[in-house]
């Protein structure tokens, strides 16, 4: 039986939401904590604190959206699970829909922009 995607993981759905940023970063492959911080800063310009990072990692792991790989010394890489991929795709789809509507309205190609004063 096909399962519907789980409900969105991010509490706010904002682009700079730590869980969303972590899932997006892991979409390109497993990473350990510091590599996550560096990648997130590179693609999103957001500097997460270590406490915020591991708080989000803990929640994501508890919900089964990411999984820990074997420890390598003092680091432990995390990877996206199948459920995590579905949730990420769903969250990005919702954001894309909002981006599309906003872009159309700003360009005036959407009739709803008629009420906006010049």
């Amino acid at each position: 039986m096909a399962q519907s995607p789980p409900s969105r993981t991010t509490s706010s759905g904002r682009p700079n939401d730590p869980p969303l940023l972590i899932l997006t970063s892991l979409a390109s492959g497993p990473k350990h904590g510091y590599a996550l911080l560096q990648d997130i800063e590179a693609f999103a310009g957001v500097q997460l604190g270590p406490g915020t990072l591991y708080g989000a990692i803990g929640r994501l792991e508890q919900r089964g959206l990411i999984a820990a790989a074997a420890e390598r010394g003092r680091t432990r890489p995390y990877r996206l699970t199948a459920t995590g991929s579905q949730v990420l795709a769903s969250a990005l789809g919702e954001m894309r829909a909002i981006v599309d509507v906003g872009t159309r309205r700003l360009s005036g190609s959407d009739g709803a922009a008629a009420g906006v004063p010049a």
Binding site: H32, G33, Y34, L37, Q47, G49, P50, G51, T52, L53, Y54, G55, I57, G58, R59, Q62, R63, R74, T75, R76
Partner: protein, 301 residues
């Protein structure tokens, strides 16, 4: 970041969380600070995140636990609010010395009524809190009889230790105060003033330690719905008492300060007033948040 500071920061997390993520977090903190990130910002971030992890573990915030856990979390939040309010009460006590003598007879009606309301609400609130503890006693006894002592032994021994320190400090301070004059006891002796602040902190830490024990026990005794509803109602009544006390205290201070401004002037009198107002307001807000959470999760509102 200094190793001692880092170790203290990690202690803010629950033990189980530290066992799982502590080493990784320590390593990442070392890497980020070595890369030039501000140590104090990192420290604030870690402390805030630790508080969030603990609050979620207690069921005070978050939706990741059962409704029962969230209801218990709400009641526990009210308990913590009450503990902070007791500290405020100590500050109120400090400012309530000899105020009747300073206020003219014709102006005593309002401050007397406000002070009476404050004391009455304090009594009611205390009865509510003791009632909340009393209704859980059979479950606590059952938990201990069923081998639950190891789960709470550590925190109980810690609380007992800090209470012993506070008790010894109280005795020492009382003996010292007995040998000082009124002026020295009320800001004239810097050393005594410092010792007094230390004593107040030791009592506050002791109170926090026992509140932590109560919070831990609440998670282990498995309250049924009927008991939870009783706890939520008692928590609500306690919160109402805190609100009444807050208003009564402000009215009392204002009405006394209006006719006898000298009573609350100077650092030794004004500081406790400010501390008490901040604690009372914060505690009442926490109490409202906790009561609302418990009531919602139990379907009472």
């Amino acid at each position: 970041m200094n190793r001692v500071v880092l170790g203290l920061l990690l202690l803010l997390y629950p033990r189980a969380w530290r066992a799982r993520y502590g080493q990784e977090l320590r390593h990442v903190i070392a890497q980020t600070t070595a890369a030039g990130r501000s140590s104090w910002r990192t420290g604030v971030d870690v402390a805030r995140a630790a508080a969030a992890v603990r609050a979620k573990a207690l069921g005070i915030v978050g939706a990741g636990v059962t409704r029962q856990d969230r209801a218990i979390g709400g009641c526990v939040l009210v308990l913590w609010a009450w503990a902070a309010f007791v500290v405020a009460g100590a500050a109120v006590l400090k400012t309530s010395e000899h105020w009747q003598g300073a206020v003219p007879t014709g102006d005593r009606a309002l401050p007397t009524a406000a002070f009476a309301a404050l004391v009455t609400a304090a009594g009611v609130g205390t009865v509510m809190v003791l009632g909340g503890i009393a209704v859980t006693l059979p479950r606590v006894v059952a938990m201990l009889s069923g081998g639950g002592w190891p789960q709470i032994r550590g925190p109980v021994l810690r609380a007992a230790s800090v209470t012993l320190v506070a008790a010894v400090w109280t005795l020492g301070l009382a003996v010292w105060a007995h040998r000082l004059g009124s002026v020295a006891r009320n800001g004239g002796n810097t050393l005594f003033g410092g010792a007094f602040v230390g004593w107040a902190l030791s009592v506050a830490v002791s109170l926090a330690a026992w509140t932590a024990v109560a919070s831990l026990i609440a998670r282990h005794i498995g309250l049924g719905r009927r008991l939870l509803v009783a706890e939520a109602l008692l928590a609500g009544a306690g919160t109402c008492a805190m609100a009444v006390m807050s208003v009564a205290a402000v009215v009392w201070w204002w009405s006394v300060g209006r006719v006898a401004p000298g009573v609350f002037s100077g650092a030794s009198a004004a500081t406790p007033v400010v501390v008490a107002i901040v604690l009372m307001a914060g505690s009442t807000c926490l109490g409202i948040a906790g009561t609302t959470r418990a009531a919602r999760e139990l379907g009472l509102v």
